[in-house]
Amino acid sequence: MNRDVAIVAFGQTDHLRRSDELSEVEMLMPVLHEVLAATGLRTGDIGFTCSGSSDYLAGRAFSFTMALDGVGAWPPISESHVETDGAWALYEAWVKLQTGDADTALVYAYGKSSPGSVRDVLTRQLDPYYLAPLWPDSVALAALQAQALIDAGATDEQDLAAVAARSRDAAAGNPHAQLRGPVPHGDYLVRPLRTGDCPPIGDGAAAVVLAAGERAGELCGRPAWIRGIDHRIEAHGLGVRDLTDSPSTRLAAERAGAFARPVDTAELHAPFTAQEVVLRGALRLGDDVTVNPSGGALAANPVMAAGLIRLGEAAARIHRGASDRALAHATSGPCLQQNLVAVLEGDPR
């Protein structure tokens, strides 16, 4: 029997192309303070702290230990870190709360892509024998997936442009987004993907607070209860997978209970337009579901935080009564290799 655990607070930075004036901890600290202030908690009240980031992005070794300065880890705190998107840090925190060892958790993630070349940096997560020596950048791999989807008749370039336009239109109402409102669809970056099909490159951070049981109701007017959460991974080799489908997303969604009842909102972590098409199919989302009202990763893609932000955005809609049952999705690895799905619900109004 699972413990009831909810997201009770969410905060994020404005996501910007560059943030040279801020170190990672300087960028992160305001959102940590925001979620603590929203719940009235102090660092010492938090039962477990977990973060997600990657040193490769900014080229700063052990940056996550520096980022801990912003938490105030004294007296010593119970803490962990994942070298991937913060959505997986949230999963670890959820497991920690399930064990009963903690009743509250602080989860945060940050990414500074501006100091390096994120297309090249992400090649270093690939198989070092057969893939990494070819330096296939993240846009190239997403383009191979998009072409496979077009060849399968599941989409075309016009459809993809519409996904991009709808995302940036939605982001017009999101003050934190990097691309808001109409954006030129641009030239081919790697055909069939145009610049408009690709996420903006930028820096940003996000944080959430989790709480279990009655604690959640004390900290939040309308907690976003995590009814189910699961993550699944597929083979790494691109040539082994059917790039037009995402069976790992579907399985994670099944295990999270997403198909038991319809959701009204879905926050999908689809950095490239074609990936939203794949995910909509895998999750069987109908036209009545509001997809990415935040604008999604096409409007702001702070790598390592963008997946956690999907969970936070979905929760925030429940907090403010704009959603009763929402699906949140996060991805990691090339071409949607690994996927996390959570189902969030608010109490009846």
């Binding site: 040279d20 004036e21 801020l22 170190s23 990672e24 901890v25 300087e26 600290m29 940590l32 303070h33 660092t43 490769y56 900014a58 080229g59 700063r60 520096m66 801990l68 300065d69 912003g70 938490v71 105030g72 880890a73 004294w74 100091p115 390096g116 070349s117 297309r119 090249d120 940096v121 090649t123 270093r124 070092p128 024998y129 057969y130 893939l131 990494a132 020596p133 070819l134 330096w135 296939p136 950048d137 190239a140 791999l141 383009a143 191979l144 997936q145 072409q147 496979a148 060849d151 081919y188 790697v190 055909r191 069939p192 993907l193 083979a235 080799g237 691109l238 040539g239 082994v240 790039l243």
Partner: protein
Amino acid sequence: MLRAPLVVEFPFTRSLGPVQSAFLTGLRERTVLGVRTTDGKVLVPPVEYDPATADELRDLVEVAPTGTVTTWAWNPGPRRGQPLTKPFAWVLVRLDGADTALLHALDVPGPDAVRTGTRVRIRWAATRTGAITDIACFERDQSSSGVTGRHARPHSGRFAAQEGPVTGIVAQARLDYTYSPGRAQSQYIRALAGHRTVGERCPDCRKVYVPPRGACPTCGVATTEQVEVGPRGTVTTFCIVNIKARNAGNAAIDVPYVYAHIALDSADLALHARIAGIPYDQVRMGLRVEPVWSDDARFPDHYRPTGEPDADYDTYKELL
């Protein structure tokens, strides 16, 4: 804002298992090997465990150097390290005899010369070392047809070549960054250029951190109030270095020498630096020191004794 180039380079030496070793040895000998799964599928490139069942796979087969494009993407702007320096198509290619596809580059004049289904063949690199880059790229192949394509044939995985099997690779990686240290550290570095050391005070616990990182690690709040510290300080603890460092910057420093934690006056955190101007075996806890700046340096070259009486232990015991 301060900015500087930062290059991170790391050559990983990686060993190969029996399947990857045979595959990369095969590429060196212009032969493409796959591996057969327990349900009869042929995986190219081969892996040592079945992606679906996790069964150990050792049943090697030889497939053709020709194949069919299963998806493609036109790359108008090749990036450093990629297989071709002129515009090319990324392709997944299912080689004749294989059931899975291999990622590589296709050398064609433009995007109109490639489609899913295009027939291609391997162009071998002139110099081959046992790496995926032994395939220089693919090129179009008008002569072969996948319909009558070859089937996979059993292969021992052994080659007669004098060099013997490939047992490892060195994976080179280089990433270029533009480092910017952020607000607090930029101000610290700027002050150093004027031979001043500037820390920041925590508004909650009032401690002064140097070098400042913008946050109080105890309280988790931003530090903004600047405080000039030093220039004099106290050795809180130290070690004697007996092995000469390899980098050129240390070439002029003779061993043994002393490296110390120094609590600068008014600072609540010790920083570390070399101690000189005193025999190494006379350095002690409580020794009072001051920085020695060389003309063009952006940080003190070392610290030397001031000649003051040693500091009382109680004045620095909290900073150990």
